[in-house]
């Protein structure tokens, strides 16, 4: 008789608990330390010290902060589409800037990402969790498309940070397939092009051809500071200063990189465009 070694059972190896402990599932909001949405502080409406403004403008590597002198007063604007959430402006001028721990809201128009000081509607509530956004997205997809939203992701020159977050949407925590969001292998099957990266010159024709291969109606979502505006890489010999300069963009998702919740929120806006 040959004695077969009995295989150790899966249950024996894995034990009773699972990796998805409660904290991970429920704590679906960003950590308090997260440097997310950079906003103008509301505390003071008085004109800020010109020296401080100059410092803040000079500090910002992607040039998201600009100042204009009007009648001897400095007007500050902040372009969230450029912001890479490094938090240096908050360190340099904490009475003007604050990095919130919620994600920056995606927008349908590029201009919606540019805010002026003093802020008009400064109240930014706590960021929604991926469960809340996902449920709204799921309803919207059912209402508009019937079943599912097909997405083709295109890296047009990112640092792969955005890819890490887009890929995270498919992990068992976010698990976006349950909301009807489906990543497809070909642009020909896609409703949405999720484009990351600065739009490099070497990717220009590939991006354009991918766009052309996507059937109408199609929506382009620019993901991350690079895709929105060029981010820290800007507009140079090698880059296009944002994928909007190569293909028409319908939704802008700011962030460096945007959190998975922000990506879901961006998809919510994308479905609106189709409907």
């Amino acid at each position: 008789m040959i004695e077969m070694k009995k295989k150790e059972s899966t249950h024996n190896i894995l034990g009773d608990h699972v990796e998805t402990d409660k904290r991970v599932l429920e704590g679906s909001r960003s950590a308090p330390a997260f440097r997310g949405d950079v906003v103008f502080t509301v505390s003071d409406a008085q004109p800020a010290d010109p020296e401080l403004i100059r410092l803040a403008v000079a500090t910002c590597a992607p040039r998201a902060i600009t100042s204009n002198e009007v009648d001897g007063e400095f007007q500050l604007t902040l372009d969230k589409g450029r912001c890479i959430m490094c938090g240096r402006c908050e360190e340099a001028a904490p009475i003007i800037f604050e990095a919130k721990s919620n994600f920056a809201r995606p927008a349908r128009k590029r201009s919606e990402l540019v805010v002026a000081r003093p802020p008009e509607n400064a109240a930014t509530g706590p960021g929604s969790s991926h469960e809340e956004i996902g449920k709204r997205l799921s309803e919207k997809i059912r209402g508009t498309l019937g079943r599912s939203l097909a997405i083709r992701e295109v890296d047009a020159g990112s640092c792969n940070g955005c890819e890490v977050e887009v890929a995270a949407l498919n992990n068992a925590i976010y698990d976006v397939e349950r909301f009807g969001v489906h990543f497809v292998a070909s642009p020909r099957h896609a409703d949405v092009l999720l484009v990351t990266g600065v739009g490099t010159r070497n990717m220009e024709s590939a991006l354009r051809r991918t766009y052309d291969a996507t059937p109408d109606p199609k929506v382009v979502v620019a993901v991350g500071a690079c895709a929105c505006t060029g981010g820290i890489f800007g507009d140079t010999y090698a880059t296009s200063g944002g994928v909007g300069n190569i293909v028409p963009v319908d939704v802008y998702v700011p962030g460096c990189p945007p959190r998975p919740e922000a990506l879901l929120y961006g998809l919510l806006l994308a479905v609106d465009r189709i409907g």
Binding site: A61, N160, E163, D235, T236
Partner: protein
Amino acid sequence: MTTDGAADVHSGAARLESVLLGRFGGRLTSVRVINRNEVHVDLGSKEDIPVLCLYVSDELKGRLATVVCSDERRVSGSFLLRYAFDIENGEDVFVVVTARVEQGLPPSPASFPSLALRLPASALYEREIKDMFGLIPEEHPDPRPLTLHEHWPEDVFPMRKEFELRTKVAKAQDRGYAFLKVEGDGVTEIPVGPVHAGIIEPGHFRFSVLGETIANLETRLFYTHRGVEKLAEDLRLDQVLLLSERISGDESVANSSAYCQAVEKVAGVTPPPRALQVRAVCAELERVYNHVGTLAGLSTDVGFAYGAARLNILKERMMRLNEEVAGSRLLFGVNRVGGVGIDLPPDKSRLVKDTIDGVLDDFNRMVKLLKRDSSVMDRLRGTGAIGPNEAAEMGLVGVAARSSGLDIDTRRDHPYGAYGSITISPRYDTPRHITEREVEMATRRGDVLARFETRVEEVVNSVNIVGEVLRSLDSGPELQAPVPREALRPFGHALGYAESHRGQTVHWVMIGDAPDSIFRYKVRTASFANWPAIETAVLNDIVADFPLINKSLDLSYAGNDL
């Protein structure tokens, strides 16, 4: 024959200095040691590049770590080529062979002797230099462009100083790229990319297949070329730090550490001990979340979705920890020139320790499950093998090198930051253990399974390192040493290096003459060194195994393309 700061010169560097001087004295204009462990050898003539470089490579067993070209015509009247070799025989030394290349008079362009045929690892650097600087490597076997694709005019050299960063170069006629043709009965070509089916970065793969078997593979990269090095010359020192984090998003700590280290060396500044420890902890956290992610990817690619799902949960837990610690899920914002921008107070330290211990426990169970499963193991074993000689010839680094039996690890061979007092692999300290290590390295077969096992081992090691560092955290409140502007002397330069989860990343920084500016920033990530490996590894495997082999090497496109 000068030594900067003679008191602090590595003994091995001093020895090599005299060896090189004794042997090649007549051909050299100077030999000197700077930054403690860089032996700089200046050649009188560029024609001596092959003699010196091959001596360092063959006799001194130096591994080509990077080749830096810089346009110093404005400063010294010529282009400079610096070949940096990494000596890994236990002596913490780099040998940098420097040669001048004068600007050629039209119509003959400036050129330099190519090493590609005798030192294959130099081939890609030389093609890159040709594209970016317009210096011609003489008798290079591969004249095709590399960084600048077919639609770039042939007379544009972006890294030359007269080329302005924001120049928009008109598109030239697409010249096409001459892929190697494999001909014969039944040979077909499969073009893949640059836009792939999965959520990954862009690159083009041209397979020539005979049935299912891969007869040849050519990779065509640089689709994500963002002009990182040129852009750095336009930014301030503190802004380049943010840029270095975004060279390859998932290795932000390694790349920014290497950058900071180079600038700190030029300034002669040592960050406070606690800052270096925080750096090391974050570097290891980075290693853990990426290795776990790669192992999840391998699990996906062999069709074991359950394993991938559970490992990806662990990755997500690590990324949430990253966010708690650094305010960014990708650990952006950890480093500052002169120290770090974050701290690990007791509550954070405890959170780190608890989380990684929990993750490790689950990780070990998952690995056991994967190893038990023959449907997983059979796909890994013998797939995508790279032999030790091939690995050495290509100059591989990191996990790819260690899995092929090359025992190199920058954390141990060139202990930087806090790594001088950290045990990288706890078992190798006695002669017996060292012999065991040698035997073990010799048995590594360089296949996907070996890379799988190396990664598993490194996850465990990294968790131990984090624990060790957290136990001995320096109590000093200082987290950043001041970097005085006057210490950054114009044209001072240094090598910075770190071991990312992919392998050694080497950054060469030369300070500019304007305040806070950079004259030249040369980045060589592990991906640039390891990409050639895939063309070798897939030969005689089947097309269906390509994703698996690709994932096992875990290469970054962005880190390669810059």
